[in-house]
Amino acid sequence: MKKYMFLSIAGMFITMLVNAQSQYKAGDIASDFSLKNVSGEMVSLSQFNDAKGFIVAFWCNTCPFVKKYDQRLQDLHAKYASKGYPVIAINSNDKNVQPGDSYEEMQKAAKNKKYAFKYLYDETQEVARKYGATNTPHVYILTKKDGKLFVEYVGAIDNNADDASAADKKYVEDAVNSLLSGEKVSVAGTKAIGCGIKWKKV
């Protein structure tokens, strides 16, 4: 009995530690991962030999904010993949909490919307926890330097979720443009409003 109590207390403690883990910010070194793409293959950032970096976007099928940004994420990939910064979208939502975000639904969404970027399933939610993602959309721009992945920007895509043409601060585009021209990113962090990531019920 005592043993079980100890175990459950230890378990609680570990859960608290995981929850307390703060999010990556500019300057941090990001971890690579291996996640299943909608096509079935496993994808790691280390596989992209030609990439200079990545636009990692915590994403899903169901959030109204994500839907508002859907075309914009596709545009970012179209504009920057060839320049060395492909978009990598990751869905970390628990399918029991949000059935519309299951792997099968991701496959359907990617097909319907003709996603040209990788759309990965973070079923264990480990990547979202490690990166400290809280919302969808939540974007992390990474650059490769000396075999490591450095975080350059964390936050929102731009400053108008409702209307792309009314956005006058394009955080992600500005940051990638700065990196491509060898300059420092001027805004390295913003708050990303959106739907909370649907964590597994413990």
Binding site: C63, P64, F65, K68, T134, N135, G155, A156, N159, N160, A161, D162, D163, A166, K169, T190, K191, A192, I193, G194, C195, G196
Partner: protein, 163 residues
């Protein structure tokens, strides 16, 4: 005849408008005004949206507790982050359906990073989040996640001042 019809029509329209939930659109200056209210009242400002499931779950607790306290002791405001383009199509029907009578304001400034930190320096922009304050007494507590009815009542009872 035409004039009578026109009068009847405008009267009918007027009545419909009167019945509808009064919704105020606000921007950063109006938000700042709410946040700096000098009156000796516990202000409970809840940030939510119709598309946010946990927000929708907790709304009835606010509605219920608002009836349990005197308006001179606690003042509730629901600040909606629904898109301004969806006020008529989504927000108003939702409020009617769920019989929400509290004061609802819609934040129309979508440049979130220009105002999130005015609410609380550590807020990440996640909703639901609720701010409790009484500026006359220098009381401020920010709750950046959902609440149960019991939690909400507990927080209000902790910060309320009843004479």
């Amino acid at each position: 005849m035409r004039i009578i019809l026109a009068v009847l029509l405008s009267l009918t329209l007027g009545l419909v408008t009167l019945q509808a939930q009064k919704i105020e659109k606000i921007g950063v200056p109006e938000l700042e005004k709410i946040l700096s209210s000098p009156d000796n009242v516990l202000h409970v400002v809840n940030f939510w949206a119709t598309w946010c499931a946990p927000c929708v779950t907790e709304l009835p607790y606010f509605e219920k507790l608002a009836k349990e306290y005197k308006s001179g002791d606690v003042k509730f405001v629901l600040v909606s982050l629904d898109f301004p383009s969806q006020i008529d199509s989504k927000l108003i029907p939702f409020l009617k359906k769920n019989k929400i009578t509290l004061d609802v304001k819609v934040m129309t400034d979508l440049d979130y990073n220009s105002w999130i930190e005015k609410v609380d320096a550590n807020w990440q922009g996640n909703i639901p989040s609720t701010l409790f304050f009484n500026n006359a007494r220098g009381v401020k507590y920010f709750h950046p996640s959902e609440v149960t009815e019991k939690e909400l009542k507990g927080i209000i009872n902790k910060y309320i001042v009843v004479y």
